[in-house]
Symmetry: C2
Subunit: 468 residues, 2 copies
């Protein structure tokens, strides 16, 4: 019977997403109509047993005014964890519309890390209103998590965990698990603590299952020193998970007392967000830009980067301005100059991409910085000579002037070496000064190649042809 029901639910999930995994427009339409008709029974029938991720995806696909109504109509069948799966802007809009009691009721049963995630984006006033509607024990626990700084391990950890003393037997632990009421929704390891709740070690569930019931925990536990401190930065924690293939990790406070556990699913999100931020930063887009943002918000958010770029474009143009006399005498220079700048910019971007990526992955550091810089400079030299010759020949044929070919060839070599050096040294310098290389390397690097490109090409030409 239960099996039958589960199967039916699964078929509905299949209808909700097409084969590519995209949300089906017809399904969204059906839900939308049920909400507009206040038909709570039909709505439950459609989506009550959805996974939180699918309830979240559905919320995002609905019109903004239908989202809070759907939640109220579903009542207990809405899984508030779904709110951890939607864009920040969408979540905040929904939470503002819902009564504080509804939110408190929904948040109460969540794992503490999910509850914190939902509450942390709200302003202090709304947060307090919801916290006040919660039972005292939950309120205190959540408040404590919210007091940790943003992006710290304390914010991401789950406070419910299993901790046992080292002198227990496997049998005692199993009995404890069977009787305990306040258990986390799912867990992969149990922790071993001393009477002061200081972390001694951990034990995976599969080891527990395979051991004799009479065995003492202290003989089975792994006394691994690997642990996360409550104030550690979330990206560092994610890097640790990735490096050591962890599934969960204990979080300790300053006195090495066990205060929580961080699980891999949250770290997957952190890693993904980090990659996301890096891609956006390299493309000149702010990390918090989302597809659901309005035209005005997006325009303003992108304006800043474009403004900085405009300044550097004027700087590059002013180099051209220096050589107005030469340009007037020989218009071919104006036609060819952008090629030198563009080729340098692209070569520099290649080097910069590799450098920014390697810095983020901690693969580029003092131990190999020198070797990689030399390598990049040599790559720049070789590609500079190659493309210098190529461009020189084409330019000579185009303008029937082999002197022009020699000049552009030399300028190309100079600019590709400059680009390679800028591409590696600028990100490393930014990292040294604790700025994010992904965010600002691009402007500096292309400024270098534009300025050096124009200056070397027009400078060499002016000297070579005696144009001044």
């Amino acid at each position: 019977m239960l099996l039958e029901e589960n199967k039916k639910a699964a078929e509905r999930v299949l209808a909700f997403r097409d084969e590519e995994g995209d949300v089906s427009a017809a399904f969204v339409q059906a839900v939308s109509e049920a909400v507009q008709a206040d038909d709570s029974a039909h709505l439950r029938d459609l989506i009550a047993d959805f996974h939180e991720a699918d309830q979240g995806a559905l919320l995002e696909a609905l019109d903004a005014d239908l989202r809070p109504r759907l939640i109220e109509l579903l009542g207990d069948d809405f899984d508030f964890a779904a709110l951890t799966e939607v864009d920040d802007a969408v979540r905040e809009e929904i939470l503002e519309e819902l009564p504080a009691e509804t939110v408190a009721e929904g948040v109460k049963d969540l794992d503490s890390d999910d509850a914190v995630y939902i509450l942390e984006g709200l302003d202090k006033e709304d947060q307090d209103e919801i916290l006040d509607a919660l039972p005292a024990s939950e309120r205190v626990a959540l408040q404590k998590s919210l007091d940790y700084p943003e992006d710290s391990a304390g914010r991401l950890m789950q406070a419910d965990l299993i901790a046992v003393p080292p002198f227990w037997t496997v049998g005692q632990v199993l009995a404890h698990l069977r009787e305990a009421t306040e258990l986390p929704e799912s867990f992969f390891e149990i922790f071993v603590v001393d009477p002061g709740h200081r972390l001694l070690g951990h034990l995976f569930l599969d080891a527990l299952l395979r051991s004799d019931r009479a065995a003492r925990i202290e003989t089975l536990m792994v006394s691994d020193r690997r642990r996360v401190r409550v104030l550690d930065d979330s990206e560092e924690v994610a890097r640790l998970f990735q490096r050591y293939n962890l599934v969960s990790a204990p979080v300790v406070d300053e006195a090495d007392r066990l205060v929580g556990v961080i699980t891999i699913d949250d770290m997957v999100d952190v890693l993904q967000e980090e990659a996301d931020d890096e891609i956006k930063a390299l493309g000149g887009v702010r990390a918090d830009e989302e597809l659901s943002d309005t035209v005005l918000y997006t325009t303003r958010s992108r304006f800043i980067w474009l403004f900085v770029n405009l300044l550097t474009a004027f700087l590059a143009s002013s180099v051209l301005g220096l050589f107005e006399g030469s340009l007037e005498k020989m218009v071919a220079l104006a036609v060819l100059a952008p090629i030198v700048a563009s080729q340098g910019g692209n070569a520099a971007t290649q080097t910069m991409t590799v450098a920014v990526r390697a810095l983020a992955m901690r693969e580029l550091g003092p131990s190999n910085a020198w070797r990689i810089t030399i390598r990049e400079a040599l790559v720049g030299l070789l590609n500079g000579v190659g493309f210098g010759l190529l461009t020189g020949v084409v330019a000579s044929l185009w303008f029937r002037d082999w002197n022009l070919g020699i000049v552009i060839c030399l300028a190309m070599v100079v600019n590709l070496i400059a680009g390679a050096l800028g591409g590696i040294l600028i990100p490393m310098a930014l990292e040294r000064f604790r700025a994010d290389p992904a965010v600002s390397s691009g402007v500096f690097v292309t400024t270098v190649t534009d300025v050096v490109g124009f200056f070397s090409f027009l400078g060499i030409a002016t000297l070579w042809f005696g144009l001044h």
Copy 2:
């Protein structure tokens, strides 16, 4: 005693990495000297109990010729799983140096997914040599995995798993786990199968632990339809893990028979690699480029992209060439033209970054393509007007000619709208034609903004000033 030893090991790990997580040069030096002195006892003392990830990081930090020597000196204390943690080029070099018997011996005890990962990069001949040195049962299992296509779920899965019939009790399962010898290194769930080994459901270990020993598995199992097919693409699988916060997932063949299990640690690597590839592609760097590559290899690998870029740069310059007459009469046009092109290129890159990212995350599809395109065009229009006015004023003051200001303002508006449309439509078109938008969008998009930028600015100027 055991505890003491573990602690000492942990302290050594701390010395191996500094506070930032970077590998310590002094430690690498010490290992390097031990290898050169063939001092296997000291080497064991230093790194025998290292985590596979740290042994891998250490291998990468060593000189190439010391790497195979270290492995031979460590013998049984070298964890071959460390080879899954190093760059492909490093791994292949090491495997070529080591005798096939050593590799077979080391690979034998690994989880099957790690063994496959190590073997799959080798050419057929070397692969066969190592497979031949393995016991028959292992050889057959590995060969089967290697026969699945690259980047399929079959390659990534781990063949060892726990599967039980639905009529067993919890007590029977626990007894089975205690007695079984061929268990995976660690696992989070057990699977329930029918007599034909078809997957019926699964059960997390924590649920098993919390249940009564007499309870039957079929009453406890979750009959979830979520499963991976053996030929599914690894990136799709990773997306599934991410969407539903999975820790492991069953893999079934065409007949729905359970053949393996995929765990989250492998998916973290897939997601990371996917992000890595996307970042590199957007920066014009090939996905397989690694920091350990040689100068010549890197030069050649980057040449192709730069060559394509050179062609588009000549195309853009030829537009300038069309207007040689105008440029000659009015050299200010040559000075200002790159500003229009550059500003358009940057605005287009912003839009393209958002589009490529959203396509990769499956957030941009037929259901919202139209809305996002309109939004981007409006953002382009608004920023075009803003920067058009700004540039117009500066250009008017610089060249003391307000007509020039009007012309550049108009060209800027045109180019920023063109950039926005190119930035969204080109990636969507590439996706439609099953090309990777991250790899090739950049060339097309900046070609559009260079050509439109030069053409609109010089075209409008030629008409406005009557220069032809």
